[in-house]
């Protein structure tokens, strides 16, 4: 089952009188968007729509999710047929939910290097959910608003011929028997309000672990509902553009045989963690894997899930490499991970999230900046008198992403 992802390049994003793509400029009609969202999503009290472009002196606060606009052209199931994606553009949903999570995006300056979103044109939705709704409902309002907006934009991809078509059909490549068989194990948080993810519309607490095709991820099979610590939250955009999937596909047939993907979760109860890790390792084994790349989301207790997985895989003779960020303290002298196992001898570090950054004042801020001191990685004095912001990398969206999008790493000095 081949999957084709058609990339429709967008050079410029602006608000205007119609929603259309004309010669690489995507124009969005804000009122039509608002009407669409209030029709699709219950519980929006108010909504503001902004555009943020790369290089602008703009800071976006309390980001819930980032989504690439997509449109399924043909094919009934996720990961099959053809989907058009608007490239270089994304929808950003932000707003107050509970108040501890969400993160910052800086479109220029030192903070811009720490997020992939500073390189995209962003349609920013400031969503204000009806206050009488409980926290679970408010989260859903903001999440659904972002997804609905991305779908609304995605529709402009309907009549357009993509600039480039990415064909994802690993089964069509004949792999010599001497190529090592590799499986990608992607761990999704499944721990409750603001710590959930959605797989094919279903909460990741259920139905996992399961095997999927690589195209499942690239075709939007996973939607993010998680907001713990912006640095290593996997946004929907990260899942849609999964860097490990792309890296494995690039070497498929030449250096390795990319056998498939196992999606697993990170429950809150120990017995469930053990069960998931055990079942995931069994699935990897069933796929005949010689080796596995492991990615995760979050830190702390998910480190325990990671160690359980590594132990299970190595114990079954499957070599494992895992990506992880570190929480080594502001001075880097502290223990980086919450759990350990001797078999975890091949780790890729994507950086120490406790390192501090000072971000300069900007000309425009979007989202509730006054909530910044309460974000994970921020502190009471984070908002500086000169208008700048001092926070840990932890607060910058995607800065230590554990699917491995960034180049940041850690060395011992």
């Amino acid at each position: 089952m081949a999957f084709e992802l058609g990339h429709v390049g967008v050079e410029r994003l602006e608000l205007g009188r119609r929603t259309e793509l004309v010669a690489s400029t995507l124009q969005v009609e804000a009122d039509a968007l608002r009407a669409h969202l209030s029709h699709e999503v219950e519980g929006i009290r108010s909504l503001q729509v902004h555009v943020a472009r790369p290089g602008e002196s703009t800071r976006i606060a309390c980001v819930k999710d980032v989504i690439e606009p997509r449109l399924k052209m043909r094919g009934g199931r996720i990961g099959e047929g053809r989907t058009h994606a608007l490239a270089n553009v994304a929808v950003v949903s932000c707003g107050q939910i509970v108040g501890f999570q969400e993160g910052l995006i800086d479109m220029s300056g030192p903070g811009a290097a720490h997020t992939p979103f500073s390189r995209l044109s962003l349609l920013v939705l400031e969503v204000d959910a009806a206050p009488e709704l409980d926290a679970h409902r408010r989260e859903r309002v903001v999440r659904e608003a972002g997804l609905a907006a991305a779908a609304f934009l995605g529709r402009v991809g309907a009549g357009v011929e993509p600039d480039r078509i990415e064909r994802v059909a690993p089964e069509e490549t004949a792999c010599g028997g001497d190529l090592p068989r590799v499986v990608y194990v992607a761990m999704l948080l499944s721990q409750g309000l603001l710590h959930d993810n959605w797989v094919e519309g279903r909460n990741a607490r259920e139905g996992l672990p399961r095997s999927v095709n690589p195209a499942f991820l690239l075709d939007g099979g996973v939607v993010s509902g998680n907001c713990v610590s912006a640095c290593d939250k996997n946004t929907t955009w990260h899942h849609q553009n999964d860097a490990v999937v792309r890296a494995l596909l690039a070497r498929h047939g030449s250096e390795l045989d990319f056998e498939g993907v196992v999606l697993t979760n990170a429950p809150t109860r120990l017995a469930e963690k053990e069960a998931s890790a055990h079942a995931a390792a069994a699935l990897v084994s069933e796929l005949g894997a010689h080796g596995a790349v492991l990615a995760k989301e979050g830190f702390g207790n998910p480190d325990a899930d990671l160690m359980l997985l590594i132990r299970g895989l190595e114990g079954a003779g499957i070599r494992a490499v895992a990506l992880t960020d570190e929480f080594a303290g502001a001075d880097g002298a502290s223990q980086s991970l919450a759990d350990a196992t001797p078999e975890a001898d091949a780790l890729v570090s994507v950086g120490n999230a406790n390192a501090r950054v000072v971000l300069p004042p900007v000309q425009r801020t979007l989202g509730p900046m006054e909530s910044v001191p309460r974000l994970a990685g921020a502190f009471a004095e984070s908002l500086r008198p000169d208008g700048g912001v001092e926070v840990e990398l932890q607060t910058l969206l995607g800065s230590t992403n554990q699917i491995g999008f960034e180049r940041l790493t850690c060395r011992e000095v």
Binding site: L270, M307, D339
Partner: protein
């Protein structure tokens, strides 16, 4: 924190859900609890049952505090 308090001579019963982490970090008396967001509770149970569950966990913690141990021990 558990180890530093114990270093000062006070026995500590660590009530937590993710026992492997507690074991790795080195707490000596470990009491496995219900789940991360509600270690001493279970919102899926009726209130009286939840209180009884909490009391049982605390009784186990007391037992841990009153038991001599030579190495890391899990009390259930």
């Amino acid at each position: 924190m558990s180890k530093e308090i114990e270093r000062a001579g006070l026995p500590v019963a660590h009530v937590c859900s993710i026992v492997p982490i507690s074991k790795t970090v080195g707490a000596n008396r470990i009491v496995p609890s219900v789940a991360i967001p509600h270690p001493l509770g279970d919102p899926g149970k009726p209130p009286a049952e939840e209180r009884a569950l909490r009391r049982r966990l605390l009784e186990t913690a007391l037992r841990a505090l009153a038991t001599a141990v030579e190495k890391q021990t899990i009390f259930e």
